[in-house]
């Protein structure tokens, strides 16, 4: 941690087999700490894949207006609970198309139950196109456009045909579009909650670990007390305390604060532990003997030494936040429609009847699982990489 590099680490990124061979060589001893971590992180293949998945997920959340085929609130009574469309490459005449296409939908009556159902109409084939014109939107409230990443171009005759890659919900809204818009809320609420927890955790954990004494005892008791409260009932109670008359944005921030209210205790413990360990290190003693101020010692010498550990614990605490938001909203005590989040979407799948009738309503849950797993694996890899000097 306090190892300084005699000369700057090579700036050219080594290709992989080369890097591994060099790990035994001289470059291992001259590499900077961050380069060592990068090498260590690369060895955890699953973590690298997870980071890529997370990057894609956050990019989608950032550009969801463009990526989503439709406006999330566009509904059509004709396509209530339309099943996911199947992508076809071979048409009815047995001809192969390189560009996949989907069959349009028509409503028909089930001869037995007499209920209206949506079935594919094989006379209508729509090729999947990129950068199609669709619902108008304003990207980040600035650029007005109507281009969408994927979609179909139904002709004038079948204007109300829509592309349902993941099916439609009980109001005939496109589930894929809603999931992509939900990603923006669900993914950002995790980051926001962790950010708030981080601030609280560093301040209180730092005081606890560096100052020690009475302050440490008081803060430790507070943490123990907060941890002894059962998390889910506490969240439920706090969630119920948010007035339903609040505007959606304020509810969103309210939920973020509620989530971080418990989350910070874990981070404060990590910070405190690192501070206590580092306080005894020789280089801190050296800095103190050199008459460095307390703030300078903390910010210049201690914080850089545990940033890597902190990043790892942060990554590991995001999924818990995402899961909590999902559970709270699922129960109706978190975010409420018209906000679209993954938990809100799962409200549609609350009972067995809905799930049996339309199993695709569970799909938002699949996205939750993928993101949570990716965060867990990435955090695992980062934790291993955080201490590159361990064997």
């Amino acid at each position: 941690m306090s190892i300084t590099t005699p000369r700057p680490a090579p700036t050219v990124a080594p290709d992989k087999p080369q890097a591994r061979k060099d790990l035994q060589g001289e470059r291992l001893y001259t590499a900077s700490q961050w380069r060592l971590m990068w090498w260590r992180f690369q060895q955890h293949k699953l973590a690298v894949v997870s980071i890529v998945i997370l990057l894609i997920a956050y990019l989608i959340a950032l550009f969801c207006e463009f990526v989503a085929p439709y406006d999330p609130n566009r509904f059509s009574p004709r396509w209530v609970l339309a099943p996911p469309m199947r992508l076809h490459f071979i048409d009815a005449e047995g001809q192969f198309h390189l560009r996949p296409f989907v069959y349009g939908y028509k409503s028909s009556r089930n001869p037995e139950t007499l209920a209206m159902v949506v079935v594919p109409d094989e006379t209508l084939a729509f090729p999947i196109k990129f950068f199609v014109r669709g619902d108008p939107y304003e990207m980040w409230g600035r650029f007005a456009t109507d281009r969408h990443l994927v979609g179909i171009e139904p002709g004038a005759a079948s204007r109300d045909q829509m592309l349902f890659l993941l099916g439609a919900d009980e109001m005939g809204r496109d589930l894929l579009s809603r999931i992509l818009y939900g990603a923006r809320i669900s993914l950002s609420i995790g980051l926001g909650g962790v950010f708030l927890s981080l601030i609280l955790g560093i301040i209180l954990g730092g005081i606890s670990g560096y100052v020690g004494g009475t302050a440490d005892i008081i803060i430790q008791r507070i943490i123990e007390f907060l941890r002894s409260l059962p998390a889910i009932p506490l969240w439920l109670t706090l969630g119920a305390a948010l007035p339903p008359s609040w505007p959606p944005l304020r509810i969103y921030f309210g939920i973020t604060i509620i989530l971080s209210l418990i989350g910070w205790t874990g981070l404060a413990r990590v910070v405190r532990g690192r501070f206590m360990a580092l306080r005894e290190e020789d280089f801190i003693l050296a800095a103190r003997l050199a008459n460095a101020s307390r703030m300078r010692i903390i910010l210049r010498h201690m914080v850089p030494s545990f940033t890597s550990h902190l990043i790892a614990s942060l990554t590991l605490s995001v999924p818990a936040m995402i899961l909590s938001e999902t559970s709270l909203s699922f129960l109706g005590l978190g975010l409420q429609p018209p906000i679209v989040s993954w938990g809100v979407l799962l409200q549609g799948a609350q009972n067995l009847r809905a799930v049996v009738l339309a199993p695709w309503l569970l799909l938002p849950g699949l996205f939750v699982v993928i993101v949570v797993l990716a965060f867990n694996f990435a955090g695992d890899g980062l934790r291993d990489a955080a201490d590159p000097y361990a064997i």
Binding site: L236, L346, V355, G365
Partner: protein, 328 residues
């Protein structure tokens, strides 16, 4: 040992007192009270809610008094008479409502705890002794996935699979025929046939966590010199592992009581809604939404106190199993 127990018990009292205060503040947080919710209900059903009636109701439930008076009244009744107050929504004593249901919450939680131990213990030992084997990887994978799935989602998926492939109605704890029947062997069997879904759903993440700690702890122990010595002296491998390292690595099982049990009690809240189980969960959520404050508050107070009690018990067990902790 006695001194240790005494010290822990001494800490228990102020903690529970602090919890009761926090509870009362929490249930007072939502704007308005049950009477305003009740007035809204009356209005939406077309009835007139006169100021007179509302203030009379407030007076009857003591809602017009200052908050600290309400708190002391509530706590006083709990401590002196075991009376948790009156549920305004159900128009029944809170105590009766809770005792009817808390038994099921605990049945499910304890069944899950036993399931977790029975499954996690052998798998943890196997994974550590057969590190990097196929089964080790498989269990790790299942564990990771189990931790990533929100439990209500797992419950929904299991219900859906059970219904669509086996034609089973897996919700609830009893079939229609046994719901109101007296206890009999058949009713018990029927209970077991329904109990496995919540037990698996609740247990999977705890099991995964326990397997990982057991594996890590045992791996640390297996590398220690005393194991090598015993092996060099010709002790049978099977006997060696079970007699020494496993016993040392057993600590997380005991300390897991502290966080597993409250986690389970919390967890049942959500999946009870999905699986329509007769536990405290659904009632708790409804009471929170309608601001039935004594009911909601009592639930929170009981669950939190039980959590603290669970920690206390596990600390004592740990001290009993591991003398090093006792002496500290």
């Amino acid at each position: 040992m006695l001194k240790f127990v005494f010290k822990r018990l001494l800490l228990f009292v102020p903690t529970v007192l602090a919890i009761s205060i926090v509870t009362f503040v929490l249930i007072q947080l939502p704007p308005g009270d049950y009477i305003s919710v009740y007035a809204l209900q009356l209005e939406s059903s077309g009835q007139e809610a006169s100021e007179q009636l509302l203030s009379a109701l407030r007076q009857r439930y003591g809602l017009d008094q200052p908050i600290y008076v309400q708190y002391f009244k509530w706590m006083g009744n709990i401590l002196l008479h075991g009376d948790f107050g009156h549920s305004m929504q159900w128009n029944r004593p809170v105590g009766d409502l809770i005792w009817e249901r808390i038994g099921w919450t605990f049945t499910i939680s304890i069944a899950t705890l036993i399931f977790t131990w029975i499954v996690a213990f052998p798998i943890g030992v196997y994974s550590a002794t057969h590190q990097y084997s196929f089964l080790d990887y498989l269990f790790s994978f299942i564990g990771f996935v189990g931790q990533g799935i929100p439990d209500f989602l797992l419950a929904l998926v299991l219900m859906w699979i059970g219904y669509s492939t086996f034609g089973l109605e897996v919700g609830g704890l009893f079939s229609e025929a046994y719901r109101n029947a007296a206890w009999s062997w058949n009713k018990f069997v029927d209970l077991l046939r329904h109990l496995w879904v919540p037990v698996i759903v609740l247990g999977i993440s705890g099991t995964a966590a326990l397997i990982r700690t057991m594996r890590a702890n045992l791996l640390d122990e297996l590398r220690k010199p005393y194991v090598v010595t015993a092996r060099a002296k010709g002790m049978k491998e099977w006997q060696l592992i079970w007699k020494y390292p496993v016993r040392v690595a057993l600590n997380p099982f005991v300390s897991s009581m502290a966080y597993v049990l409250p986690g389970l009690v919390s967890g049942t809240t959500i999946i009870s809604v999905v699986l329509s189980l007769p536990t405290t969960g659904p009632m708790q959520i409804r009471s929170l939404m309608s601001q039935d404050m004594y009911l909601a508050g009592s639930f929170f107070l009981l669950l939190s106190s039980l959590t603290v009690l669970g920690t206390l018990i596990s600390d004592m067990l740990l001290a009993w199993v591991d003398p090093r902790i006792r002496l500290e």
